[in-house]
C-alpha cells in the first residue's frame, strides 16, 4: 500500500523515494495497468515480476515520465510527477537513472562518451573531472579496458554493464532496471546482478528491478555486497533482515497479484504464482 501523504513529503525520515498510487493506463481498448500501487523505500529494492506484456516496463517508464498515466499519482523523491511537462521532468530525472532493455547505448559514441554523456552534455563539469568520473565508474564495473571501444565491439553482457555505468555516472539516488539480464547467459547475468547489488549496498542506491528471470530476482534479493578490510568487495548471502528489505511485486492483467518478500513468494500457494515459479 502507498505511504500516507504525510510520509511522502521530502525530508520525512520514512518517506519512500517512489510512490505509485492507484495508477491506471490503457492504450485504446487495451488496459495495461488497472490499479497499481506500491512504494520504494530509500536504499531498498523492489522487484517487479510478471509475464511479457504485464506492464512491467511501462511502470518504469511512467516513473521516469517517459509515459503519462491516465489516472493515479506518481511521486518521486516527495514530488508529484505524473502531470509534469518535459521541462519540469528534467529536474526529476536528475536523481533517476534507467537501464533499458538491450542497454540502449548510443551507437555512434564510444564507451567513454556513452558513460559520460550526461556529464559532458548536461552539466558544467570540466572535461578532466568528467573523464575522471567516467574512469572511476568503469573501474567500479570492471570495464576500464573497454573505455575507447564502440558499443558494437562489446558483448551483450558488457553492453548492459556499460548501460549501468552510464546510468550511475551522475550518481542518481534511484536506478530503474528494465530486464537488465534478459538474453544473457547465467554467468554474465550474475555479473550484472552483482553490479545491481553493489550499487544498492555500497552506494545506497534505491532500485526497482523489472525482470521475468526468477533466478536473477531471487539472487538480487538474497545477496548483499560487503567491503572487506582490504577494500575488496564480496557478494555474500544476505542477512534475513536484508532479504526482507527486498520487496517482490507480481503483475498480472494490470493488477498486483502478489506483494511480499522472497520467502513469502517461495511459500505462496497461489496456482498462478506456483506456475510462474515452476
Amino acid at each position: 500500500m502507498p505511504a500516507p501523504a504525510s510520509e511522502r513529503r521530502p525530508g520525512t525520515a520514512r518517506a519512500p523515494v517512489v510512490v505509485f498510487d492507484r495508477v491506471q493506463l490503457a492504450f485504446d481498448d487495451k488496459v495495461v495497468l488497472k490499479d497499481v500501487s506500491f512504494t520504494l523505500a530509500r536504499g531498498h529494492t523492489t522487484i517487479i515480476l510478471g509475464a511479457s506484456g504485464a506492464g512491467k516496463s511501462i511502470t518504469l517508464k511512467i516513473i521516469l515520465g517517459l509515459l503519462q498515466a491516465d489516472d493515479g499519482e506518481v511521486w518521486v523523491n516527495g514530488r508529484r510527477v505524473d502531470h509534469l511537462g518535459e521541462r519540469e521532468l528534467m529536474s526529476v530525472r536528475a536523481d533517476l537513472g534507467m537501464i533499458f532493455q538491450e542497454g540502449a547505448l548510443f551507437d555512434s559514441l564510444t564507451v567513454r562518451e556513452n558513460v559520460g554523456y550526461k556529464l559532458y552534455e548536461e552539466t558544467d563539469m570540466s572535461i578532466e573531472d568528467v573523464n575522471r568520473r567516467v574512469e572511476e565508474v568503469l573501474g567500479f564495473m570492471g570495464l576500464l579496458e573497454y573505455i575507447d571501444k564502440m558499443p558494437s565491439e562489446l558483448s551483450g553482457g558488457q553492453r548492459r554493464r556499460v548501460a549501468i555505468a552510464r546510468a550511475m555516472a551522475f550518481k542518481p539516488g534511484i536506478l530503474l532496471y528494465d530486464e537488465a539480464t534478459t538474453g544473457l547467459d547465467p554467468i554474465t547475468a550474475i555479473t550484472v546482478d552483482d553490479e545491481i547489488i553493489k550499487l544498492r549496498d555500497l552506494e545506497g542506491v534505491s532500485s526497482i528491478v523489472v525482470t521475468h528471470q526468477l533466478r536473477d530476482a531471487f539472487y538480487v534479493a538474497t545477496h548483499m555486497a560487503v567491503r572487506g578490510p582490504d577494500g575488496t568487495v564480496r557478494i555474500v548471502p544476505a542477512t534475513p533482515q536484508k532479504t526482507n528489505e527486498a520487496e517482490f511485486i507480481m503483475l498480472r492483467d494490470g493488477l498486483i497479484c502478489f506483494e511480499g518478500n522472497a520467502n513469502d513468494l517461495r511459500g505462496s500457494t497461489d496456482p498462478y504464482l506456483r506456475t510462474f515459479l515452476s
Partner: protein, 260 residues
Amino acid sequence: MRRVFAILNTRLKRAALEMQEYLYLTGATLRGFATPPFYRHDIIEQFDLIGIGTLTVVVLVGFFTGAALASQTGVTLDQFGARPVVGRLVSVTIIKELGPVMTALMLNGRVGSGIAAELGSMVVTDQINALRSLGTDPIRKLVIPRVLAGLLMAPALTVISDFVGVLGGWVVARFQLQVASGLYWSSVTQALFMADVQQGLIKPFVFGFTVTSIACYVGLRTTGGTQGVGRATTTAVVVGSVSIIALDFFVTQVLWKLLY
C-alpha cells in the same frame, strides 16, 4: 456507403492528428532556435553532413540538368531561329525553378532518408528514451541541428547548383549547339531580374526546412522495429518529395504576388 464514410472519417482524423503533431514539432523546433540549451557540436556536425555531404550529388545533378536542358531546348529554339538565346532559357529555368527543386529533391533523397532512418533506429532501440532519461530534450539535441542545417545549407547548395547548372548549359551551348561563349553568358544575365534571383533564393529556405523537419518527424514517430525503420525511410522520402513539388507551386504563387 456508411462503411466508406467510416473509413474516410478515420483517415481524415488520422491525417489531422499527424498534421497537428507535425505542427507541434515544428513549433517546438522554432522555439528551440531562440532558446538555450544549444548543442553546438551537433549543429556543426550536421552542417558538415548535410552541406558538405550533399555537395557532390548536388553538383553532379545540377551540371547534368543544365546540360540536358540546353540540349533539349536548343533543338526547339532552332525551329524559331532562336538558338543564341538558349542561355536565357537555361538561366531563368534553373535559377527560378529547377535549381531549388532539384537541389531539394537531392537533399530529400540523401539527407531526408538518412535522418528518418537514423532517428527511427534510435526510437526502436530506446536510444531516444535513453536521451530523455539522461535529461536531454531530443528535439533540441537531434531535431534542431538537422533542421537548422537544412534551412541554411539548402540555399547555399542551391546557389552552387544554379551556377553549375548554367555552366552545364554553357558546355552544351558551346560545344554541341555551337553558340559563342560571349553570346551565351550575356544572354544568361539579360533575361534575369532581381525578383527571379530572390525567388530562387527564398524557395530553398522553405524546402530545406520542410525536408529536414518532415524527416525528423517521420523518424521520431517510427514504430514496429526494423521493418518500421524501413517504412519510415520510405515515408520520409515520398512525403518530402511530394511536399517539395506541391510547396514549389504554392510558394511560386505567393512570390509572384509579393515580388513582381
